[in-house]
């Protein structure tokens, strides 16, 4: 990924900044600039997601691409945020801990590193919300 491409997504990746349509109340993450439901009647504003959600479904990745090989086996899940938007992300827990419906919360982690001399990409992952 080029430096600029990642840099543009820092608000989303670090702080889960998405958008909300004030007309219908839907929250979009990653952010959309047009509401697909309200179209020209939609009014899009910035919206910071709370970072709370639950596991909709998941997969255990045993055969990972190079930059994630250190972490395998790891849990990749689709999380439904409490605002309603869904995102694909890693859940940091043992593979046998995860289940559909598990409450999760966001944490700040390294997403990947471009080798030993490249940029370190940070962003949001999820952990079980036990509190």
């Amino acid at each position: 990924m080029t430096v600029a491409r990642f840099w543009r997504a820092i608000p989303q990746r670090y702080n889960m900044v998405g958008t909300k349509c004030e007309t219908c109340g839907r929250v979009f993450f990653p952010p959309r600039s047009v509401c697909p439901h309200c179209r020209r009647n939609g009014k899009i504003v910035e919206h910071k997601c709370s970072g709370k959600g639950k596991v909709m479904t998941f997969s255990i990745v045993h055969s990972a691409s190079d930059q994630y090989a250190d972490m395998k086996p790891y849990v990749l899940a689709i999380i439904e945020l409490e605002e309603g938007a869904r995102m694909t992300t890693q859940v940091i827990c043992e593979p046998d801990e995860v289940y559909i419906g598990m409450p999760v919360k966001s944490v700040f982690r390294v997403l990947d590193r471009e080798g030993s001399d490249g940029v370190i990409h940070y962003g949001t992952k999820f952990v079980p919300d036990v509190a």
Binding site: Y14, V107, L111, I120, Y122, K125
Partner: protein
């Protein structure tokens, strides 16, 4: 009065026991545990580093008290394990807590005392009226060379402090420092692991500077050790702070709450900030806290604090994980997996 507005701590969930490290290197675990007073240490996950620890600690601080991030005009991160040699950890933290772009930021390095040096800088900026809030963080993912004495203690963790003037939960009554050029521990540019002067790091290093700064504080304040409810000293192991405390006249009861090294190891720049966080987790209004950090190279920063009523009604300590809760949440690793976690295996 300038003081701590809110605070947050972070300790990774992984641990390795001294016995497991000793097993691999053919060392006598009982002797090492007896000598260091440390039984296990915290290990970062693959995707954790000083920046992620600093962010989690800072976010915990902001969860405990509604501080407007736009009023945070400075972020300082002290560490000897910044992820980049050149590119600040502090702006990553600033971005992740919403304090950017109207803020100043820098990374500090002073072996194990860079976190307390950041607190002093934040105090100056706030006291001078330059800003309302400044954030100071001490965090590390400390490295010890495989088989070296440091490997038994070099741990991961950190704590963050928002420093300000309005309704602090603890007033910082005074700070003073004692610093000299003493080469007891160092890491040269480009080297993976630090080197140290072995026993030399004791008397001319740790004890001279810790007692130097602590005596200066007692003299400046006209206090004696018995005037304090809690004391936190830098803890490269569990023995040094206990010996240093005894030399100064502090009792075990005063230091036990902030003495985390037996279960945590040495979190370097995070050590005294985490010890103070453990004290603030249980402190009551009126409690007086004595702190002295130590950074090899060498220097010590001493602080005298008084906890205020604001700790009861201005922050909600339950909104962030307590140090005790994070210490209790431990997953143990064997040496091979630990070595993978720490990037000690080169392929």
């Amino acid at each position: 009065m300038v003081g701590i507005i809110t605070y947050g701590a972070y300790i990774p969930r992984y641990r390795i026991k001294v016995e497991e490290i000793a097993r691999v290197w053919g060392a006598n675990a009982a002797e090492i545990k007896g000598g260091l007073g440390v039984s296990e240490k915290a290990v970062p996950d693959y995707d954790e580093n000083t920046a992620t620890i600093a962010v989690e600690a800072a976010r915990s601080a902001l969860a405990r008290r509604a501080v407007d991030p736009a009023e945070i005009k400075a972020v300082y991160v002290g560490s000897e394990s910044h992820p980049y040699a050149v590119k600040p950890t502090a702006v990553t933290v600033g971005e992740a807590i919403g304090a950017t772009p109207v803020m100043t930021a820098a990374d500090y390095e002073f072996a194990c005392k860079a976190g307390t040096a950041g607190i002093q800088t934040a105090m100056g900026l706030v006291s001078s009226g330059m800003m309302k809030y400044a954030v100071a963080i001490g965090a590390d993912t400390a490295q010890g060379a495989p088989g070296d004495a440091l490997e038994y203690t070099a741990a991961a963790g950190g704590a963050a402090y928002v420093i300000g003037n309005d309704d602090p939960i603890a007033v910082i009554n005074h700070t003073c420092s004692f610093s000299t050029d003493t080469p007891d521990f160092w890491r040269r540019e480009g080297e993976d692991y630090p080197r140290h002067g072995g026993r030399f790091s004791g008397e001319p290093g740790y004890f001279k500077h810790v007692t130097g700064a602590a005596h200066m504080m007692l003299e400046h304040m006209g206090t004696k050790p018995a005037d304090y409810d809690y004391a936190v000293f830098h803890q490269p192991n569990a023995k040094f702070p206990q010996k240093g405390a005894a030399m100064l006249g502090f009792t075990h009861d005063q230091i036990k709450t902030g003495l985390l090294a037996p279960r945590l190891g040495n979190t370097y720049s995070g050590a005294v900030p985490l010890g103070l966080a453990a004290v603030l987790d249980v402190a009551k209004p009126g409690d007086r806290i004595f702190i002295t950090s130590y950074g090899s190279g060498s220097g010590s920063d001493a602080f005298d604090l008084t906890v205020t009523d604001a700790i009861l009604d201005k922050i909600d300590r339950s909104k962030g994980p307590s140090v005790e809760a994070m210490l209790a949440c431990a997953t143990y690793l064997d040496y091979a997996v630990y070595a993978r976690h720490k990037g000690k295996i080169k392929v």
